[in-house]
């Protein structure tokens, strides 16, 4: 490493320790664990700034945060999986004795012999670590793949296909005629007036229809087909723009959250 890198590391470490001391000092009146709390807030701010430093270029601080995240998140989900799934869901179903050993209150009717099967399959999955018996791990994998494929087949056929088609067939000419005055009332975009609802239904029906035509590539997009495809791409562009705006707003709100943390919780500049 270069001399400047060492110097930079030393400055950052000194700033970290200084911030820790100051933060712990400001928390001393509020909590008993002010040293730990001060460290955690300073460390959190340091990690936030480390990740933000990626905006300049990939650098050691970003790499540090990235690698730490991998380790911490892997262990976090492992522990959560162990305590919530294995201990709280599986153990009471395997045996009453195990349940009392793990101090999990057994529920009446919890015990079920069939729950030994996923345990056996899970152990077979670990056979992947064995150089010779690795192929056995394909069995539990096949079980997961088969079950998920069957589940997705029905689920997506229902929700992403049949339901979407049935919801697209909306009343295009309104439901019941209540006079011209009522028809032209409530013309606001957010209102539920008859004309507005009808226009929205037309946009939805034509939008879906033309959007699907745009994605149909087995026929050349010419003539009426081409015109419908053109309307389809207009609707798609509106959607992409709206989705883009929505995503940006979501990310900006996350950024605001982090900036608020830095200025309020760490630096205490804003209240």
């Amino acid at each position: 490493m270069k001399k400047t890198t060492y110097l930079l590391m030393a400055v950052i470490s000194a700033l970290f320790v200084l911030s820790w001391i100051l933060k712990a000092g400001s928390l001393s009146g509020e909590t008993d664990n002010y040293v730990i709390q001060g460290f955690l807030i300073t460390f959190s701010a340091f990690l936030t700034l480390s990740v933000l430093s990626f905006l300049y270029a990939d650098n050691p601080l970003y790499k540090f945060a990235e690698h730490l995240f991998v380790g911490v998140s892997a262990a976090f989900w492992m522990c959560m999986g162990f305590w919530t799934t294995i201990v709280q869901n599986l153990i009471p179903r395997l045996s009453d004795g195990l349940s009392s050993f793990f101090e999990v209150p057994p529920q009446p009717g919890d015990y079920n012999f069939f729950f030994f099967i996923p345990v056996i399959l899970g152990i077979l999955l670990l056979m992947r670590l064995s150089p010779k018996g690795g192929w056995i791990s394909r069995w539990p994998l096949a079980f997961i793949i088969g079950t998920t494929a069957g589940l997705n087949f029905v689920r997506y056929l229902r929700s992403d296909f049949i339901k979407q088609i049935s919801n697209t067939f909306v009343p295009l000419l309104g439901t019941e005629w209540q006079g011209i005055g009522h028809f032209f009332s409530n013309l606001d975009l957010s209102a539920s007036g008859q004309l507005v609802t009808m226009a929205a239904n037309w946009v939805i029906f034509l939008g879906v229809f033309c959007g699907l035509i745009y994605f149909y590539f087995s026929k050349e997009h010419k003539g009426a087909f081409g015109a419908a495809s053109k309307v389809g791409i207009w609707v798609l562009m509106l959607t992409f723009g709206a989705s883009f705006g929505y995503t940006v707003m979501g990310r900006i709100s996350l950024l605001v959250g982090r900036i608020t943390f830095l200025f309020r919780d760490w630096l205490e500049i804003i209240s």
Partner: protein, 271 residues
């Protein structure tokens, strides 16, 4: 045996899940719930496999001194710290020698990796490893301020386990996602130049959605911007999303069928 049984398992369980939907019987629904629970339980075993894989890859990177190997140490530190926090908990208000114990365990693991890495002077590193290990064991036996928990879910309430989630995991995750706001903004600059009708549609709908909560525009447009944005999200956006979702749904269904019928076998790997 190596390939036929997995293919058969996929076919049987996939078909069962598909036909189960058409049999609205209590037994069939019970079997469906069983299978869902089984997948979750096997998933935890898969997670253990993933953790082992992460550990092996990280240690190998440190041992062979690959590029950026130094950062892998932080992955191991994060992994083992969180694991210790996930299986220990303080017994009262104080922490006792808890942090010294955590540090000793981390140092012992570090020394073990170093012993495996170096070609000369292994005895020194191994000796140091035993020293740290003995310190950790002694603290574990004699310190009553905290204890190990392998049976009751008290570690989930361990302040350090929760703090690492709040002050390490979440800041990195939120900041990484918020970074995308900057990258999206720079991408938007290139994509949103109103060069033609399609780009203009994209620009206008994105601007309407992004500016709907802008407090400076409310005196000028009132809530018109919010209403237009809602209409955009609920009508044209819905139409195009529906067209996309139908295509995606059909794709998923086709893939699921290919997997169940054994046409798609990529999940089995080679051999």
């Amino acid at each position: 045996m190596k390939r036929q049984i997995p293919l058969m398992l996929v076919l049987v369980f996939g078909m069962f899940l598909i036909f189960q939907y058409f049999i609205p019987h209590e037994t069939s629904e019970k079997a469906y719930e069983f299978l869902l629970d089984w997948i979750t339980i096997i998933g935890i075993f898969a997670m253990a496999l993933a953790i082992w894989s992460l550990f092996r890859v990280t240690v190998a990177k440190v041992r062979t001194r690959k590029e950026n190997w130094g950062y892998s140490i932080f992955t191991l530190v994060g992994l083992f710290s969180m694991m210790i926090f996930g299986w220990t908990a303080p017994n009262g208000e104080g922490w006792g020698w808890y942090f010294i114990f955590v540090l000793s365990v981390l140092m012992a693991i570090g020394m073990l990796v170093q012993t495996m890495s170096v070609k000369s002077g292994r005895g020194l590193w191994a000796g140091l490893m035993f020293v740290f290990l003995i310190i950790a064991v002694l603290i574990g036996i004699f310190d009553n301020a905290w204890s190990f928990h392998f049976m009751s879910a008290e570690p989930l309430e361990n302040p350090m386990f929760r703090s690492f989630f709040d002050f390490v995991l979440m800041p990195i995750l939120a900041t990484t996602f918020s970074l995308l706001a900057f990258f999206i903004a720079s991408a938007a600059y290139r994509a949103f130049r109103a060069r033609n009708l399609l780009a203009t549609l994209l620009l206008v709908s994105a601007l309407i959605v992004m500016l709907r909560f802008n407090p400076y525009l409310t005196p000028i447009f009132g809530d018109y911007m919010a209403r237009t944005s809602n209409w955009l999200m609920n009508v044209p956006n819905l139409a195009a999303q529906r067209a996309i979702v139908m295509g995606v749904g059909l794709g998923i269904v086709a893939t699921a069928l290919k997997v169940i019928l054994g046409i798609e076998r990529g999940y089995m790997g080679k051999g």
